[in-house]
Amino acid sequence: MHFSITAGLKAVIEGLPYILGGVWVTLVVVVGALFMGLVLGTLLSIAHVYGNRVLRGLTGLYVWFFRGVPLLVLLFLFYFGLLGALHLDLSPFFVSIVVLGLISSAYQSQILRGAILSIPEGQLKAARAIGMSDTKAITFIILPQAFRLAIPGWSNEYTIIMKNSAVTYALGVAEIMARANHVAARTYQHFWLYLLAGFIFLILTYAGTKLLGLLQKRVAIKGYAR
């Protein structure tokens, strides 16, 4: 294989529409996983902070497991192992979202837990003192503040999930990496196509963190710097 810029650019230009088609797949996987991670992670963080010893133990175990096992192992475990054992037929796309979402929920629960714990305890007391149930106090007083504090952590989490989503190509999800791989195998221009894939990821992570930065400014509490 020779290293030729013209051949490389030709492969890139010809493959671009097909590879860009993978951006949507990647985005749906990433946003889906982040959203699932947010919902589950929020519940986990609440269980971890406000739950009894049993709940805390269980959430701790969950977090420990999903933070400790490699993504690829989990993808294979769920797709080839669990689905087979349960006689379920789900798409690799769906399984990828779920597995990334489960992992993200473990990380997001820790981000949120830190955020919740940094809110002065007196506010929960004050909420109770005006007759709020704990559920109301958490919903209307604690979480709105914790979510704001968690945005920088989420920004980080977004880039990690974005990058990790490339691994789902191993299940055959037609995302950016899988498509770049496909074109590379056909044209033998691996260098240029992987460079292209890397570049697309770079733009996606950059755009996402910028967007979250804007969100952070938008929802910032007036006069408040923490």
Binding site: G122, A129, I130, G223
Partner: protein, 262 residues
Amino acid sequence: MKDSAMPANVPVLRIENIKKRFGDKEILKGVSFELNRGDIKAIIGPSGGGKSTLLHCINFLTLFDEGHVYLNGIEIDHANKRELYAYRQKVGMIFQDFNLFDHLSALQNVQIGLVRVKKIPKAEARERAVAELERVGLKEHMNKYPAELSGGQKQRVSIARALAMDPEVMLLDEPTSALDPELVGEVHSVIQKLAAGGMTMILVTHEIGFAGSLAKEIMFMDEGVIVEKGPPRKILYEASQARTREFCDKIIHFHHREDDQE
């Protein structure tokens, strides 16, 4: 008047033999007293004596080990959540460090209990919240966030927040001790206004001058018991217990020295 519906002889709030331990330390060793409508009682005493713990127990923010709490003669069962939440609205609590909700404006701080707890429609709740803020002299600051308010203003917002719930009793835990001296007056005058309006109150404070001018009874609390209680003049200057005398002497001297410096 509200109290026409109540038998005149039933205290608004009565607590009976409250005991609380943290670990193997007994913090409250059986505290009892009662408040009739319009009563204002002050609690003074050395740091660590259990004053804050007592107020927290009255509101079930801290669960006590033994004892009973009655509102208008009816014992409160904290295990019954509905009853507990209704009770807490009736017993307003003011904290030393305000505990405003940081993400909400002054107006929203007062409004949120009306909307989320009392389920009053937003527009109506807003009107009520504005009125409460006006009562504490903060109407023109209602759109400011806690971080934009002074300590005195924050404490007044927290008083408005409690008043919005229509409390029958207010528990105030050193409401001005976190404030710069020049901000104490504005909070004191709000409390005085409440007193003039007939609010039933328990005031924990180190400001004996203020306590003496406001309360009809002062209770001296130390090591988890109410050592003695009586009219301000008696407790502050002619206490029968040595412990009370020692504490009051110290704090009176301290205040005089502060006054000299001014």
